[in-house]
């Protein structure tokens, strides 16, 4: 029994130490805030801290309290390794969506065009790897060329970007890239990694409700990544690859995303686009997509729907 207890302590202790040893970009941000005095009575809050759990029972087997604490810490890290739930994801997405409207000129009010973006977006989302998630699509009233995806399926595209597209296949390609960020849970993975490095044991709604500052810090980190720094290059390349696949599955010409990137590349240096600061080199992305397109030979006969796109854009 002692050997087993020692092995558990050693394994979880080493795991915990390993994560503690790295400085994380969310170290300070996600650190749980000191608990404020609660004026209102709560049925569960007080009890949660002191309620003995299964691990406390290890004391009966001669395991010291400090070792039990160490195991608990290890379990906390293991909890953070658990996927973030869909309800939490959608809540975070809502808050990021509010920020998106607030920072990018608000909603572009055109009911017909918004409906069109939703029809194209849903056609792609339906054949994505998360077809049961309710995706939402909106246009931002900004002349900057940009598009982004908040967790939970909130997809944004600026009117500036729409004006630079040539056809519906390009629009489907751009939306498919954003949908792929959500299906691959890129932002959630970034948050989870940050939480892990900061020893935050739970990224749940109950934990975030108890500590609004923590929720606010998570949203700050997401918006910083989305609007300023951008995601890791590998995640962008992966979103390109899945984006091409999803657009193809939806029956659009699979080169739509590549074709828009070519337009963007031709504007590099003088276009007003956040794409250049939040995404890897356009040239590299185009070349990587070109390598993939060979696998979609039968998609060359799929439509690009220039006329329909232009009829909605009022060109």
């Amino acid at each position: 029994m002692r050997r087993i207890s020692f092995a558990i302590v050693l394994t979880l202790g080493l795991t915990s130490f390993a994560y503690e040893s790295f400085g994380g970009f969310l170290d300070d941000i996600l650190k749980p805030q000191p608990k404020k005095e609660q004026s209102q009575p709560s049925q569960s809050q007080g009890g949660q801290q002191e309620q003995p759990g299964l691990l406390d029972a290890l004391g009966a087997f001669g395991v010291k309290k400090k070792d039990i604490d160490l195991i608990k810490k290890g379990v906390g890290v293991a909890q953070a390794l658990q996927p973030i739930g869909e309800e939490e994801e959608i809540t975070m997405g809502e808050a990021v969506a509010v920020e998106a409207f607030s920072r990018f000129g608000g909603e572009y009010r055109d009911e017909r065009l918004t409906r069109y973006i939703n029809l194209v977006g849903k056609t792609v989302a339906d054949v994505s790897d998360r077809p049961n998630l309710n995706f939402h699509f909106a246009i931002l009233n900004s002349q900057d060329q940009n598009a982004f995806a908040a967790p939970g399926g909130f997809i944004f595209v600026t009117i500036g970007l729409l004006k630079n597209l040539k056809n519906e296949a390009e629009l489907a390609g751009v939306l498919a890239h954003e949908i792929a960020h959500v299906t691959q849970k890129h932002m959630l993975e970034t948050i989870r990694r940050g939480a892990l490095l900061s020893n935050v044991s739970e990224v749940t709604l109950s934990a975030m409700n108890k500590d609004p500052k923590m929720f606010s810090n998570v949203i700050d980190e997401i918006t910083d990544k989305l609007f300023t720094k951008g995601l890791d290059k590998d995640k962008e390349y992966e979103a390109d690859a899945y984006g091409v696949e999803f657009a193809y599955r939806a029956g659009y010409h699979p080169s739509g995303l590549r074709d828009y990137l070519k337009t963007l590349q031709s504007q590099e240096g003088h276009a007003n686009s956040k794409f250049f600061t939040t995404h890897p080199s356009t040239r590299t992305r185009i070349s990587k997509i070109d390598e993939l397109l060979g696998q979609y030979a039968d998609g060359r006969r799929f439509p690009v729907l220039t006329q329909r796109f232009q009829s909605y854009m009022g060109a």
Binding site: G85, E87, E94, G251
Partner: protein, 171 residues
């Protein structure tokens, strides 16, 4: 001698029948409302609809359409990208390890502000108020979530453009 022949026949039967059964490919509906049509054309008569996780046996593959057999014995055609070879998993929830530390994990469901179907979640509302974000932006998110496209409108849109279920020449 009879016994040997019988045994050999049984072995041959097992060797022939089992692999042929294993070849029947099982697939699952990725979402609810997946149409099963009588003919390969998605505009033909709808003979059934699948719910998320419903199992089908693939009988024939023809381009972007698969002919499938339903558990009730009926057969029809399905747009292949609405099917998956893996059974869709349930929704991911909170941590399952919480019990070990003796913590109580509250099920992650949150009410909408004002108790109505529409409206932002309470956490989001509190966040936006805390950051003094203009209420009009909160309303925009509310409208974004409330925006609906009906199944028939989507089908009509896809058919007109030859995309989605109607892609790859499926008319």
């Amino acid at each position: 001698m009879k016994k040997i022949i019988l045994k050999l026949s049984f072995i041959v039967l097992v060797l022939v029948i089992i692999p042929s059964l294993a070849q029947a490919e099982t697939m699952y509906a990725k979402k609810s409302g997946v149409k099963v049509t009588a003919e390969k054309s998605p505009t033909s008569k709808v003979v059934g609809k699948l719910n998320t996780g419903d199992q089908v046996q693939v009988v024939k593959k023809a381009g972007r359409q698969y002919q499938v057999k339903l558990p009730n014995g009926k057969s029809g055609w399905v747009f292949k990208f609405k099917l998956s070879d893996k059974k869709p998993a349930g929704k991911s929830g909170g941590s399952s390890l919480a019990g070990l530390t003796g913590k109580t994990t509250i099920a992650a469901r949150e009410s909408r502000s004002g108790g109505s179907i529409r409206g932002l979640k309470e956490t989001t509302e509190q966040y936006a108020q805390g950051k003094n974000i203009d209420p009009s932006y909160r309303r925009s998110v509310d409208a974004m979530e409330a925006f609906r496209v009906s199944d028939s409108e989507l089908a009509q849109f896809q058919r007109a453009g030859g995309v989605g279920d109607y892609s790859g020449g499926g008319q």
